[in-house]
């Protein structure tokens, strides 16, 4: 039996259905990410797990115990909020010790646990600082330490890095993952940043309109999207109809699928064995750091092709370009809406 089991969870706000008969399981010590666009229900799911919102139907079990109607304070769940929700009147050490004081732990033990946790998140020397005296990254680490110190059964992270700049976010992603592994903390992360999800997760659940549309390891999700929504959300996939694909590559043998996805980096600019040559006009070239993205129009179909950045500046706009498509890289999508 899984450590966390969520069965048939539904939630409506007025007439709007936010979660639809959602099922999710999570193993002990795993970090799972709920990834989806704004309004897909991921934060609502997190609030229901924490007990801050009640579901209309369904059950939540943690470690074999049904906690669906348990009060938040008795669930043994830690949560880091998007806004951190640090207590402005308390110092860093007091913020972190708050949960232990509520559990009425002996003072000596509280001091020891607080010190250990401060060292774990690297906030030594900031014990007596107030939240407004800290940077965004430090505040985030206090919020994390405050949730970890009580050793919750499940840690919930509601877009904890979204307010930080890119550099700090990347550093904290690594730190977050390393702490989670060190403590073997069962964790649910909510984010709409696919790169973040890929970087830190054991498993990713892609959510859309209150449902989990696909779940798997980051590799599975990226290389084998099942539907158009995932293909478009998880990367800059080229999503083509069967008719468009046959126009581009008449020799390709289509399956029964109506939609197909092709990753931009699989379209090569050098000839390859079994590769189908597609010639088109370069409409635009965009620099994306280490990648150069070509927008190519061929037989009325627009394709994106990514190549590693070269030392010279590309001068291809308006020119003809031939790219090669490996049929093995064409992924059929089983999309009901297609």
């Amino acid at each position: 039996m899984s450590y966390v089991q969520i069965n048939h969870l539904s939630k409506k706000f007025g007439q709007q259905t936010v979660l639809q008969q959602l099922d999710l399981t999570l193993e002990k010590g795993q970090l799972i990410t709920l990834l989806g666009p704004s309004g897909c229900g991921k934060s609502t799911l997190l609030r229901i797990i924490s007990g801050l919102s009640a579901p209309d139907s369904g059950t939540i079990r943690i470690d074999g115990k049904d906690i669906t109607t348990t009060r938040p304070k008795d669930r043994e769940i830690g949560m880091v909020f998007q806004s951190y929700a640090l207590f402005p009147n308390l110092t860093v050490a007091e913020n972190i010790s708050f949960g232990l004081e509520m559990k009425k732990m002996p003072m000596a033990q509280i001091r020891r646990s607080v010190q250990e946790t401060i060292e774990l998140v690297g906030l030594q020397g900031k014990e007596k600082a107030f939240p407004h005296e800290l940077s965004g990254g430090q505040q985030q680490r206090v919020a994390l330490a405050r949730s970890l110190v009580t050793r919750p059964k499940v840690l919930l992270l509601d877009e904890p890095l979204s307010a930080l700049d890119a550099q700090i976010r990347k550093t904290l992603q690594k730190q977050l993952r390393s702490i989670q592994r060190e403590l073997s903390m069962t964790t649910v992360l909510v984010t709409h940043d696919q790169e973040e999800a890929m970087a830190v997760s054991d498993r990713i659940c892609i959510m859309d309109a209150g449902r989990i549309v696909q779940q798997g390891t980051p590799h599975e999700i990226y290389t084998r999207p099942r539907c158009e929504f995932v293909a478009r959300f998880i990367g800059s996939y080229n999503v083509l109809t069967a008719e468009e694909l046959l126009r581009l590559a008449p020799e390709f043998s289509c399956s029964s699928a109506k939609l197909y996805a092709i990753r931009p980096e699989t379209l090569r600019d050098q000839e390859m064995e079994d590769g189908i040559a597609v010639t088109g006009t370069v409409d635009n070239v965009t620099m994306l750091g280490n990648i150069t993205r070509y927008e190519i129009s061929a037989v009325g179909v627009r394709l994106f092709a990514d190549y590693l950045h070269h030392s010279w500046e590309p001068q291809d706009i308006g020119r003809k370009k031939t790219i090669y498509l490996d049929p093995k890289d064409v992924i059929p999508l089983d999309d009901a809406s297609a």
Binding site: S50, G51, L52, R71, P72, K73, D74, R75, I77, G78, M79, F81, S83, A85, L86, F87, P88, N89, L90, F98, G99, M102, K103, F130, P131, H132, R146, S147, T150
Partner: protein
Amino acid sequence: MRRMNPSHISFVLVLTYLFLPVAATLIYSLATEWNKTVLPEGLTLKWFAELFRDFPFLQALGRSFLLSGLTTVAALIVMVPAIFVIVVYAPRLERWVQTLVMMTYAVPGVIMAVGLLRTYSGTGIPMILVTAGAYVVGLLPFIYQGTRNSLRTIHAASLMEAAELLGASRGRAFVKIIVPNIMPGILVAGLLSFSILFGEFVLVNMLVGGRFETLQIYLYAKLSKSGHIASAITVTYFLFMAIISGLAVKFSRGNKATRKEAAS
């Protein structure tokens, strides 16, 4: 020399308009005689000495303190938790509270006094208690605005959720986290309420009158007896209000600092 522009002149005129009566009252409270001359004939502190030697004045001052202070404290104890519950857990009820707030402005003091007299006279309830009850209701707008703004500034709902998830009961989270963070706002609302009640005359005069002589009733009685004493009372009252206003400004600055902290 820099020439004064029209905005400076209008500023000076407004200040003169505002402070001339206060200055005249202050000078009159310090004047030995000021009847037939442009300036006072001499200066003295005897009216203040006489005032502070007058036991009924000290009693009236004490009563005003007691009535305003206790009523303000009672209003804060009742209203702050109620406003907290509405703002955090039942925000839909806020429009009804706002209607109630408007109603307290809509009823003139005289009409309220007559209504209270008709309703409560002969019921056995002491009219001073009725007055205090009416004061508590009358303070709703000031306490509501101050408390609600403070709660929104600190994102009280998020703080409560965080505290509850860390194992605190709602009551404990309110006392340990919410109250300390909105304290500057509560103090400002309290000081404002106190100063408003301290200067209130209509209700207390009509409902209890001479049976519970407050500073305002004492002042009213003295107006016809001695202009110098009445001026000394006014100056004392003005100084007292200035101290309270100064404290309110100090605490509201503390509140602004809290807002900055919450925003950072």
